[in-house]
C-alpha cells in the first residue's frame, strides 16, 4: 500500500516535472476541438456555409425562357443564401474554374428552351469543381431540386400552350395567355413552402445541437487526454532494472495500479479546469450531479482501455498507432461528428462496437441503465486482461 502511494506520488511529480509537455497535452487538444466545434456548429446552426462562394451560369441559348430559368435560379433563396452567381460565357467560366475561383458551372445548352417547350428533356450541364468537393456537392443538390421545380412549372405551361393551341386561339392571345401563365407558375413555385405547417416539438430533456456537440467534443477531449497521458508516463525500463525493482517487492502490478491512480486523478484535475468555463456559460443546464458521475465513469472507462492497450503492446510506436486508430474510428463511427441516426445500418453496427457510441448515448439520452448494462463490466474486463498479461510476462521472466 505504501509502495502504491509512493509510486503514485512519484508519477504525479514526474508529470509536474515535465510541465511543458503536460501543458501541451492539455491545451492543444482543447484548442483543436474547440476550433472544429465552432466551425461545425456554425454550419449546423445557420444551416449553410459560413461564407458565400461563387458559381457561374453560362447561357448558351439566350432566349426568354432561359432568362426566366436563370432568373428563377438567381431568385431562389436557397441558392442565393450560399452562393454568388456570375453570368459569363463558357470560356471565361472554364478559366475561372481552372483557377479555382468558382465552385461550379451551370451550362444551359443551346436549344434548351425550344426543346423544353416541345416536351423534350434537355439536361442542363453542371460541372463541379473537384477542388471544392463540399461546395460542388451542394450546388449539385440545389440544382437537382431546381430542375424539379422548373419541370413542374414547365409541364403546366406546356399543357396550357397545347390546349389553347388546339382550341385555335389567335396567336396574339395565345402569347399573352402563355406569358401570363409563366408568371403565375413561377409565383406558384416560389410559394411552394406554403404547404407546410411547421411545429416544433421539444421535450424537457431535449438537447439542441449546441449541447450535443459540446457533450460530444467533451467526451472526445477526455479520450485524447487519456490517450496522451500514457505517452507521458511511459517509462523505458529495461530487463535488469525490472529485476532490481522486483527484488524490492515492486511488482509491475503495483506500477500499473499506481499509473491508473495517477492518470485518473490527473484527468479529474484537467476536467475541473474545463468544467468551470462550461458551468459559467451554461449555468446548471448541462452540469449536474449525474453529469459528474457520468464523467467519472467515462474517465475510468477510457483510462482502463488505454492502460490495457499500453500493457498489451510493448512498443511506444505501436501504442501510438493503435491508439490513434481507435480514436479516429471511435470519432467517426461513434457519432461524434454526425449523430448515428443518420448512419446506414452497417456503419451503426460498427459504431455500436465502439466505446464512444455508448458513452455518447449515456450523456445524451441519460438512459444509464441500458448503457451500464453494456459497458458496466468492460473496465473490469480491461483490468482483468492487464492482470493476465502481467502474469504471463512474469512467467516468461
Amino acid at each position: 500500500m505504501e509502495q502504491l502511494i509512493n509510486f503514485t506520488f512519484f508519477q504525479l511529480r514526474s508529470l509536474l516535472y515535465s510541465w511543458k509537455a503536460t501543458l501541451i497535452l492539455i491545451i492543444t487538444p482543447l484548442l483543436m476541438i474547440t476550433g472544429i466545434g465552432m466551425i461545425i456548429l456554425q454550419i449546423v446552426e445557420k444551416d449553410n456555409f459560413i461564407e458565400r462562394f461563387k458559381i457561374a451560369i453560362v447561357d448558351n441559348d439566350q432566349t426568354m425562357e432561359t432568362r426566366y430559368v436563370t432568373e428563377q435560379l438567381l431568385n431562389s433563396e436557397h441558392l442565393t443564401k450560399v452562393t454568388e452567381v456570375l453570368r459569363v460565357d463558357e470560356k471565361t467560366a472554364r478559366t475561372l474554374i481552372k483557377a479555382n475561383e468558382i465552385a461550379a458551372i451551370i451550362i444551359l445548352p443551346q436549344g434548351f428552351s425550344k426543346d423544353i417547350k416541345k416536351g423534350i428533356n434537355t439536361p442542363v450541364k453542371v460541372i463541379g469543381n473537384a477542388q471544392r468537393p463540399l461546395q460542388s456537392e451542394l450546388v449539385k443538390h440545389l440544382m437537382e431540386s431546381a430542375a424539379k421545380f422548373t419541370s413542374a412549372a414547365q409541364s403546366g405551361i406546356n399543357t396550357i400552350y397545347h390546349f389553347l393551341y388546339e382550341d385555335q386561339v389567335t396567336s396574339k392571345e395565345l402569347s399573352s395567355l402563355v406569358k401570363k401563365s409563366i408568371i403565375s407558375f413561377s409565383l406558384h413555385v416560389i410559394g411552394r413552402g406554403a404547404i407546410y405547417e411547421i411545429i416544433e416539438k421539444n421535450s424537457l430533456f431535449q438537447q439542441d445541437n449546441l449541447q450535443y456537440y459540446i457533450l460530444s467534443f467533451y467526451l472526445l477531449l477526455l479520450m485524447i487526454w487519456s490517450f496522451g497521458i500514457f505517452v507521458l508516463l511511459k517509462k523505458n525500463t529495461n530487463h535488469s532494472l525490472r529485476m532490481r525493482l522486483l527484488s524490492r517487492g515492486h511488482t509491475e502490478l503495483i506500477e500499473k495500479f499506481s499509473t491508473l491512480l495517477t492518470v485518473v486523478s490527473t484527468l479529474i484535475i484537467f476536467e475541473i479546469l474545463i468544467c468551470i468555463p462550461l458551468l459559467f456559460t451554461f449555468e446548471s443546464e448541462i452540469i449536474d450531479f449525474k453529469f459528474i458521475v457520468f464523467t467519472l465513469f467515462t474517465v475510468f472507462m477510457f483510462v482502463t482501455f488505454f492502460l490495457m492497450i499500453e500493457t498489451l503492446l510493448k512498443g511506444e510506436k505501436a501504442y501510438l498507432i493503435i491508439g490513434l486508430c481507435f480514436i479516429i474510428v471511435g470519432t467517426i463511427a461513434g457519432g461524434h461528428i454526425l449523430p448515428t441516426v443518420y448512419f446506414p445500418t452497417w456503419l451503426e453496427k460498427i459504431g455500436q462496437l465502439t466505446i464512444n457510441y455508448w458513452l455518447l448515448k449515456l450523456f445524451i439520452t441519460q438512459s444509464y441503465i441500458v448503457v451500464i448494462k453494456v459497458l458496466g463490466l468492460l473496465p473490469l474486463l480491461f483490468l482483468f486482461t492487464i492482470y493476465i498479461k502481467l502474469q504471463l510476462d512474469k512467467r516468461r521472466c
Binding site: 399543357t159 407546410y196 439520452t365
Partner: protein, 385 residues
C-alpha cells in the same frame, strides 16, 4: 562518398519487421481501411424520416411511393403517436404528417398548410426533405393549376360540366405525362479536374483516400524519426568525434527512411489507382514524394527541439492530428472558411490536395526551399548541442 552508414541502417530496417510495418504497411493499410469506411459511410448516409399519412388518398399514396424511391431517405411509417415518440427519442430527423383532406384541398387549389412538419432543435436535415416533398406536391399542384386554367378558358365557350370534367382530366394527364420518360429539366453532373471534366457516375465528388494517406504518411514519418531524440544524449556526442561527423550520420540515416517511404509511395500509388481513387501520373508521384520529404524534414525539426523521447512522441502525435485536421486530411475543412483556405498553403497537404496535382509552382518551390533551410538549421542545432 562513403555510404557505410546507409547500408547498415538499410539492413537493420529490412531485418526488423516492426520498422517495415511502421514505414510501409501501416500508412497503406490504415489509408485503405479507413478510406473504405469513410467513403462507403458518406455514400450511404441516410436521413431518417417518419411519414404519417392521415389522408390515405391517391395523392398521399403517390407522394409516399415517390419518396420511397429516394435513395438518401430512410422512411418510417408509424402512427401519429408513435411518430411523436420517435422524434423525441431522436430516432428520426423530422416527421411529416399528410393531414386529413390533403387531396381535397389540393384539388380546390388550397395547398396552404396541408402538410405538418415536426422538427426539434436537433433536426439537421429537415430542409432537404422539405424541398423533396415540396417538389412532389408541386408536381401535382402544377398539374391541377394547368387543368383549372384550361377549364376556366373553356367555360367561356359554354361547355357542359361533363365535358369540362373530361377536359380537366385530360389536361391533368397531359401535364403529368410531361414527366415521362424523363422530367423536362434534369441535370448532368460532371466533375472538373485539370483540363477536362469527367462524367460523374453517381459517386460523390469527395474521395477521402489521398487525404488519409497524407495523415498516415506524416504520422509514420514522425514516428520513424524518434530515434534522433533517443540517441541524442548518448550516441551523438560519440559520433561527433568520428571523422565522418554527425551530419553525414543523420543525413544517411534519414536517407534510408526516405527510400523506404518512397517505396511506400510507389506501393500506395499502385494500390490507390487500382481502387480508382487516383490516376497514375508523374505529377502525383512527385508530389507525394515531396510530401514525404517535407514530412521527414518537419520531424527532424521537431526532434531537434525535443529533449525527451516520450515528449517528442506526444507532441508529434498531437501535431500530426492538428496538421491533419486543419490541413484537410480528413475533411475539406478549408472550403468552409475563406480564411482557412488562404492559410492552407502553409500545410504540406496543399501539395497534394489543393492544386489538383498540377506541376510544381513557384510557391511550392519556395515552400520546399524554406523547409530545407530549416532542416539544415535543425541538424546544425543538433550538432552544436
Amino acid at each position: 562518398m562513403n555510404l557505410g552508414i546507409f547500408f547498415v541502417k538499410f539492413m537493420r530496417i529490412i531485418k526488423s519487421p516492426f520498422s517495415l510495418l511502421n514505414l510501409v504497411v501501416v500508412p497503406i493499410g490504415a489509408t485503405l481501411g479507413l478510406g473504405f469506411l469513410l467513403e462507403k459511410g458518406q455514400q450511404d448516409l441516410v436521413i431518417p424520416v417518419a411519414f404519417v399519412d392521415e389522408d390515405q388518398s391517391g395523392f398521399s399514396e403517390t407522394v409516399k411511393t415517390r419518396l420511397q424511391n429516394q435513395p438518401k431517405i430512410q422512411l418510417y411509417f408509424p402512427s401519429r403517436k408513435e411518430a411523436e415518440r420517435m422524434i423525441l427519442r431522436k430516432e428520426v430527423d423530422s416527421v411529416f404528417v399528410i393531414k386529413e383532406g390533403f387531396e381535397d384541398s389540393l384539388l380546390i387549389e388550397k395547398r396552404e398548410e396541408s402538410v405538418e412538419v415536426w422538427i426539434t432543435s436537433s433536426s439537421l436535415a429537415e430542409g432537404i426533405v422539405r424541398e423533396l416533398i415540396a417538389s412532389e406536391v408541386l408536381r401535382m399542384t402544377s398539374n391541377i393549376k394547368a387543368a383549372e386554367f384550361i377549364v376556366k378558358h373553356y367555360k367561356k365557350q359554354n361547355k357542359s360540366s361533363f365535358e369540362l370534367n373530361y377536359l380537366w382530366q385530360e389536361a391533368f394527364n397531359y401535364s403529368d405525362k410531361q414527366w415521362e420518360p424523363a422530367p423536362l429539366m434534369t441535370i448532368d453532373y460532371e466533375t472538373f479536374r485539370d483540363e477536362n471534366s469527367v462524367k460523374d457516375l453517381g459517386k460523390s465528388t469527395y474521395s477521402p483516400f489521398l487525404g488519409l494517406w497524407t495523415f498516415f504518411s506524416l504520422f509514420s514519418c514522425f514516428l520513424s524519426i524518434g530515434w534522433i531524440v533517443g540517441e541524442r544524449s548518448l550516441i551523438f556526442p560519440r559520433i561527433k568525434s568520428t571523422y565522418k561527423g554527425l551530419f553525414s550520420y543523420i543525413a544517411q540515416s534519414v536517407g534510408v527512411l526516405f527510400i523506404f517511404q518512397c517505396i511506400q509511395v510507389i506501393l500506395s500509388v499502385f494500390l490507390l489507382s487500382r481502387i480508382k481513387a487516383i490516376e497514375i501520373n508523374l505529377d502525383i508521384i512527385v508530389s507525394m514524394i515531396l510530401f514525404i520529404f517535407i514530412g521527414l524534414a518537419l520531424s527532424v525539426l521537431l526532434a531537434s527541439v525535443s529533449t525527451r523521447e516520450k515528449n517528442y512522441y506526444l507532441v508529434s502525435s498531437l501535431l500530426v492530428l492538428l496538421i491533419g485536421i486543419v490541413g484537410g486530411s480528413f475533411f475539406p475543412l478549408q472550403e468552409l472558411s475563406n480564411k482557412l483556405s488562404s492559410l492552407s498553403f502553409l500545410f504540406p497537404q496543399a501539395l497534394l490536395l489543393d492544386n489538383s496535382y498540377s506541376t510544381l509552382t513557384i510557391d511550392e518551390i519556395f515552400y520546399i526551399s524554406v523547409i530545407s533551410c530549416i532542416t539544415l538549421l535543425a541538424i546544425r542545432r543538433l550538432h552544436i548541442k
